[in-house]
Structures are given as C-alpha cells and as structure tokens.
Symmetry: C2
Subunit: 353 residues, 2 copies
C-alpha cells in the first residue's frame, strides 16, 4: 500500500485565509483519502472551520502561529517580518524538515518565491525558481513556464526552464519525451531576442533524451497545443497567462449577455443548458488553479489568492499529484541524466535582469 501524501497548507494565505483553505482541503480529502494535512496558522481561526469538517479534522495536525504574510508585503518585508514565524514560512519549512511532501499557499507570490528560495534553496544547476502551470489547449493540456517567479533571463536560464518543464510534463502527462517549444514572436529562426535564439541553438545541439525540442511557438500556439511544454521568461509568461485569462473572462461575459438578450435566446438557453454546463466546466478557471514553483529542493504550489474553496482544492490537487508521482526526484533525475543536462550547457551568461 502507498504511504500517505503529507501536505502542508499555509492556512492564512490568500484574500480570505482559513475559511477558504480549510473547506478546500476538505474537498480534496474527499477525493483522495490518502492525504495527511499540516495546517499552519492561527489556531483560533483554523479550529472553528475544522469543526465543520470532522474527516479533515481527523486527518490534520495544526502548527500554530499568529504571524501572517499580507498580500501587500514586499518580498523583503515578508522575509524580514515573517522568517521562521509566518504561516507561509513555517509551511515551507515543514517540507524542508521532511514533515510534509509538498506545501500549498494562496499567499502573496513575491513573498512565496522569496521564502521558498531562502528556506529550501535551489536544486544544483538551477539558478532561479520558475512558476509552471497546466494550460488547457485544444489538444489537451500543456505546461507553461515561467509565469512570473522571476523576470528576464539568459539562454541558459531558458534551457533550465525547458528541462524543468519537461520533467513536470512527464510527471503530469505521463510522457517519456515531451515536446518543448520556446515562446517567440514568430517561428522563423531570426525572430526574437538573442537569448531565445541562443537557447534554441543550445536545445537543438544538446538534443537531450528527456525532451524533444520542436522550435519557436507564437502566443496563439499555446492554445493550439503545439507543444507539451512552452518555455518563456517570467515577464512575457505572466503577460501571456493574464491576457489569456482576461480574454476568457471577457468572452464568457459576452456569451452571458448574448444568451440573456431576448426571449428566444433564453428559451434556447434552457434547451442547451446541458451544453452550457459542459462549457462552463471546461472553461472553469478554478480548474487551472495551482502553479508549481520549480527548481527548489522541495515542491511548492501557488494558488490564486482570490479563489474559493473549490478552486483552492484544485491547487492542492496539483500538489498532491506532484508529490504522489515524485516530481522532485524526476526533475533531479532529468537534470543529472547523462552527466547532467545543465552542466553540459555552454558558458553561462549574465541574466538580463
């Protein structure tokens, strides 16, 4: 029998905190009974929520702290005030101490990246962490990274992202050699920033056994599912993600008002409500909640700060899967395969920012 997956939750993280985190954990526990939770935060806020979910209560342990990182704290402030004290820090530290397999927080992204980096340290050969998410496409799903853990980066950084993204895709999609593309503004060789062209050259030359480099992919190629992994530095990754989220919200709004616009369309809506239900489920933004912070000595999952319990459960589910299928070991194996994917990369350059 498999051992339990131990998940540490920053119970104070997000716009709401415990009233979203605790019921979210309860939803996921019903889906996967093989979880033990470490709930980190203010006992006075956690316990009343926990009393409503007896099964979760039985599968949880509380680590009390009344210090919380706020959504407005700068990373440096969060570190100064919260190191060794805040719920976010202590939840990350539980992974470091081996008390949890994965940590999930809906808190402030900048603070989470800084604390995770400081507490867990980077994997050998990786300079900076990256946020990776599962992006729904016309052909299924793809891993897209970096969505904004850091910004800018040289060719070597992009190659590291490719290797980490491929590891995540092989865990998540059960692929042996995921297709990897570099996000660019055109597919022709001469397009884009120098570091992207250089990374393309490196990936082609290295011809790694763990990933299949397929070339440049444009912004609309992500949704077409042209590659299993789409690699870009954190600034453009964040812009792409949010532009897509914004468009999707905008279209649902237009659809809603079109369907409410006349008697006929409202009758039509009644007939087709099954189809609309499917549509809503397919497009539910809560389902793509949960990005993984890659490159660290530990698995850290970031949830949207503004999500509800159902959405938070999806983020915890990402963490569950990554822990259950041992993402970290897999990344380490990929990095070290054939004498180390990244140590064989030519000279490192300075990062752009």
């Amino acid at each position: 029998m498999l051992s339990k997956v131990r998940i540490a939750l920053d119970a104070m993280g997000g716009d709401v905190g415990a009233p979203v985190v605790i019921p979210g954990a309860a939803i996921l526990l019903a889906r996967h009974p093989d979880i033990e939770f470490l709930l980190v935060g203010d006992r006075a806020k956690i316990e009343p929520e926990l009393d409503k979910h007896p099964a979760l209560k039985a599968a949880s342990r509380i680590i009390h702290t009344d210090v919380a990182v706020s959504m407005e704290d700068k990373p440096s402030q969060a570190l100064r005030r919260g190191r060794k004290k805040a719920s976010m820090w202590l939840a990350i530290e539980a992974v470091k101490k081996g008390e949890a397999d994965v940590v999930v927080s809906a808190g402030n992204t900048g603070a989470l990246v800084a604390m995770a980096r400081f507490c867990l340290r980077m994997l050998p050969g990786i300079d900076r962490p990256a946020l990776a998410a599962i992006w729904p496409t016309l052909r299924g799903e793809s891993v897209v990274l970096d969505l904004g853990a850091t910004i800018g980066g040289d060719a070597r950084h992009l190659v590291a992202l490719a290797v980490m993204g491929a590891a995540m895709a092989s865990v998540h999609f059960n692929l042996t050699r995921p297709k990897v593309g570099l996000l660019n503004i055109g597919v022709e060789e001469m397009k884009g920033h120098e570091e992207i062209r250089e990374a393309a050259e490196m990936l082609r030359t290295m011809n790694l056994p763990q990933l299949d480099y397929v070339g440049f992919v444009e912004g609309d190629g992500i949704g077409k599912g042209l590659a299993d992994v789409i690699v870009t530095e954190g600034f453009s990754g964040n812009i792409a993600l949010k532009a897509a989220e914004g468009t999707s919200r905008q279209m649902l709004e237009v659809l809603r008002s079109a369907m409410a616009s006349s008697w006929l369309s409202r009758i039509g809506y009644l007939f087709a409500r099954g189809a609309f239900q499917t549509l809503r489920e397919k497009l539910d933004p809560r389902k793509s909640n949960g990005s993984v912070l890659l490159g660290l000595n530990g698995v850290v999952v970031k949830s949207h700060g503004g999500t509800d319990a159902e959405g938070f459960a999806y983020a915890v589910d990402v963490g569950y899967e990554m822990a259950r299928y041992d993402l970290l070991t897999k990344i380490n194996q990929m990095l070290n395969r054939d004498g180390g994917a990244l140590t064989s990369v030519p000279t490192a350059q300075e990062a752009v920012s």
Copy 2:
C-alpha cells in the same frame, strides 16, 4: 465638402493578394464612397478582379509592377530585392510623394516595417515605429501598442509609445486626454523591468496635458478596459495579442462543439441563433484587423496576411479613419505640444535590444 481620402493598396500583399485586396477595397468603397484607390501591383492580376467591381474600377488607378515581397522574405532581403520596385515599396512611396494619404498592406510585417522606416523616415523625436491596434474590451475599445514592430526598448521608448498611442486613441475614440497604462506583471510600484518603472516615473513627472497616466495594468486589465491606451514593448505586446487571439479562437471552438453535442443543445442553438449571430459578430476577429504603424512621416496600416476580403476591408477602414481624422498631424501636434513632449524627456538610455 470634404476632399476624398486617397488610399494606396499593396495589391500583392498577404497570403492571397489581389483576389482578397480588390474585393476588400470594393466592400469599403460601398461603405465610404469618398475614397480614391491607388492599386499597386501586377496589372494582369488586378484587372480581372477589378472588372468584377465597376464602381471600384471607376474610383481606382493602377500602378503596375510585377515585383512582390513574399511572406517569407527577411526584411533585409525584401529591401534589397524590392526597394523602388516591389508593390509594397511603391505603395508606401505613394504616401511619401503625397499621392496617397495612407497605405494599407497585408504583406510580411518585418518587410513592411523596414520599408516604411526606410522610405518614410521617423517623426522627429521618435526612434522606432510601433504597431498599434484597437483591442475590444468589456468597456469598449482600447489602443494597444507595440504589437511587435520592434522588440525591447528603454524608458524613453515606452514614453514615446505612450504619446503616440494617446494620439491614436484621441483620433479613434475622440478623447481629449486618454487614460494611458503601462503593461506590467503587477500593479505595485516595485514590479517589472527597470525601464518600465522608470517610464512610469517619467510619465508621472511630465504629467502631459495630452494623456492621463493611470499606472501599471496587468495582462487581464487590457480586456477589462482599465485604460484607453496600453503601452508595452513589442515582444510582450505581440505575445499578449496572440495569446488573447488564441484563447478567443479556442473558446469559440469549445462553444461550437458544446452546442453540437446533443439533440437538445442543437434545438437550443436554433432558438438562440440570433444571440449566437450577435456573439459571432461581436467576436469576429476580422473586425479587429488593421494595426497602424505609428511614428513615421506617413500613415501605414498593416492587415493580417491570412484574412479574407471582409477582414481586409476592416483594415482599410482603419486607414480611412486615420487619414480622414488626420492622425499624423495630431501625433505631430502631441509630440510638439508644450515645447515637445519627448524633447523634455530626461536623458535617453540605450535600448535593451
């Protein structure tokens, strides 16, 4: 009575050329009879199309050339082979010579940017051209630039984009002081690349009378309509645009298959087909065709290469409006207002790329 708007068309541009360009021009002429067309390209290909549209024929003059820039040409190749010869060049040159008020091409973007820059030259105070488009939002429409005319750029470049974008917004939306936002990965002051933070500081300090700087806008803020003008350098602008286009196409596809999934949903579709028609019209990607190449001594409009006649007509319409309302004079006025918006900008830095 107003004088006619004279529009030069690169009749060979785009994936199809004359069979899209000529009927596209005919569609627009029916909408705005106050246009004269200069059709630049191979007479043998233009005339058979023109014979199908007698009204257009009467309002057009052909400038013959059998040289055309291909969609695959690099900018340098296009310039070498096509300078003073290709339909794209000659159409741009008609603007330079004062024979046309605006030029529209569906040809290769890189070649168009290079040729326009070389032939028309930049406006005083502007170093590089920028592609600006009208982006549909929940609150109406916004101008977004640069969508990929060039990539990277320092703070001064971003300020120049802000001024040009504001000029376009005031022409297009009839606003006296459009709200301008800088695209960034967060709204907090310390977020993003240094050049963006520096541009924010400049725009705040300059407090220009022609635009109202409203701060950073995230990727999903574009669709929310948080500003009339969204400014970013060409790499992230192109990524944002294409990620949004890809998402929109993906959602229409999901909607289509959901509505076809059962008998009930098909019946519902019949009842609601008026609403779906409205929806399709609202979301018609052809309607947002036509980006304006700003910063030059002349108005140049770029159409998607793969559009149809209806879509091409939308791009020509953008050019018509920009010429009718005298975009160029307006940009020049904005640039020179109060002693020159851009000459008062602090020291220029080197561009990032």
